[in-house]
Amino acid sequence: MKVIIDVAACQGYACCMMEAPSVFDLNEDEGKVILLQENPSEDLRTQVDTAARTCPAKAIRLENG
């Protein structure tokens, strides 16, 4: 699975970091998402799916299923 983030759309809701802290972090000053892993392992799929679904800014997209 490949994670694609839209930094311009990100509004610092922090939902991604709460759901999948090993994949997403936030820049405290700008309040923007930082992608820690572009290709997370399959065991993180539930967390990453939830992060994408609960992003109010729709700034996270998954490729390869």
Partner: protein, 391 residues
């Protein structure tokens, strides 16, 4: 199950439909909505959509093709009028009826109004896309807006109108904005923030009546003073949209009463989103939550329960509010807090913690998003209050 009926063309509904199809449900899905629109996103309605005028296509949660691809039978612009849980039939306004094997109730909530006091003059509420269209057209720079109620909707509308060049007064009965939920100290911070942007915030003040006058509407306050308004918006809370369920026999009490897995009191019925009252075991509390993230996750969870799941719904609530350059995010529960501790506050940021029964239950972060993730873990883990509060 042959057919699932989803009542309420909502955020919870689209996530429920996603979950049903993803988990192999191949039967019919019917979606009933009172409004003529496909499900759309509500948070922008008090912010960018209100300022610039709503982009009705951009606000849609899913494209029209998405419903076709999932075989969703749409019944829009026709509210559900009645439920017969014995016969498993939902009746729509106008008389048509839909039978179901599974029913997902996601009718949300509706804006409360002031009642007879608000009959005189241009008084608006903001809940729906049509409300947003009507209100947007009336936000005229230079005019005076009076907002009644300093809750989140009221403060967001005040900020948007102020950014558009209106003069704005906010009237609130409580001693500070948001204080019923977040406490006086946090409320005063928001009051200072609004005032710094030129919004007049009048707290501890009731509205006695609204009169039509020569210079617009006259808002008569409890302290005897008056405000002239070109436009009035009320933000005095919301109540669950359960009128159509009265007399159905399913249990209602400020919402549809559900078990931990979101099952209502009759067979084959689940609920999700604002309308749902359920017991949350992590917080040991029966709650009803009017929040975006809750609608997403409950929609999905309720669908899984319909498909035979039995897991309790125990997600930690999350909500946000954007006013001017303030990005407030809240994780957990503020209600019924015994302790509220402001960890730090300056002119542009704040962190406040909410505790009860010796553990942390909630955290509010303004312009400090990274803290949220740390506190959510502490809330999930039931971390003792003294371990999270700085000395």
């Amino acid at each position: 199950m042959r057919r699932v009926v989803v009542v309420g063309a909502s955020l919870a509904a689209v996530h429920a439909i996603d979950a049903l199809r993803e988990h192999g449900f191949e039967g019919e899905i019917a979606l009933v909505g009172a409004e003529p629109h496909l499900p759309y996103d509500r948070p922008p309605l008090s912010k960018e959509a209100l300022q610039h005028g709503p982009d009705t296509t951009g606000l849609l949660l899913r494209s029209p093709e998405w419903y076709v691809e999932r075989g969703v039978d749409l019944h829009l612009g026709r509210a559900a009028a009645a439920l017969d849980p014995g016969a498993r039939v939902v009746t729509l306004e106008g008389g048509a009826s839909l039978d179901y094997d599974g029913l997902l109730i996601a009718t949300g909530s509706k804006a409360r109004t002031l009642g007879p006091a608000s009959q005189a003059g241009p008084v608006y509420t903001l809940r729906t896309l049509d409300d947003c269209v009507a209100l947007h057209e009336r936000l005229v720079p230079g005019n005076h807006l009076v907002v009644i109620g300093a809750g989140f909707i009221g403060l967001e509308v005040a900020a948007t109108a102020r950014d558009m060049g209106m003069s704005v007064s906010v009237v609130e009965l409580a001693p500070a904005p948001l204080s019923r939920v977040l406490g006086d100290e946090v409320g005063r911070w928001f009051m200072t923030c609004q005032a710094a942007h030129g919004v007049e915030v009048l707290c501890g003040t009731s509205v006695e009546r609204i009169e039509a006058g020569s210079r617009g509407s006259k808002v008569v306050l409890g302290n005897g003073s008056t405000l002239w308004a070109d436009l009035i918006v009320t933000g005095v809370g919301a109540s669950p949209a359960t009128d159509w369920l009265r007399g159905s026999g399913i249990r209602l009490s400020d919402g549809v009463v559900c078990d931990q897995s979101l099952r209502a009191s009759a067979p084959g019925i689940v609920a999700a989103g604002d309308v749902t009252r359920w017991y949350h075991s992590l917080f040991d509390e029966e709650m009803r939550v009017e929040q975006w993230t809750n609608a997403v996750e409950q929609g999905r969870h309720a669908a899984m329960t319909l498909l035979g799941g039995d897991d309790p719904y125990i997600a930690v609530p999350y909500f946000w509010s954007d006013q001017f350059d303030v990005k407030m995010r809240f994780v957990g529960r503020a209600n019924a807090a015994e302790q509220i501790h402001v960890e730090r506050a300056d002119t542009s940021s704040m962190v406040a913690l909410f505790g009860r029964d010796g553990v942390i239950r909630g955290a509010l972060c303004v312009n400090a998003p990274r803290q949220l993730a740390l506190y959510r873990k502490a809330i999930s883990d039931g971390t003792p209050w003294q371990d999270v509060v700085s000395a």
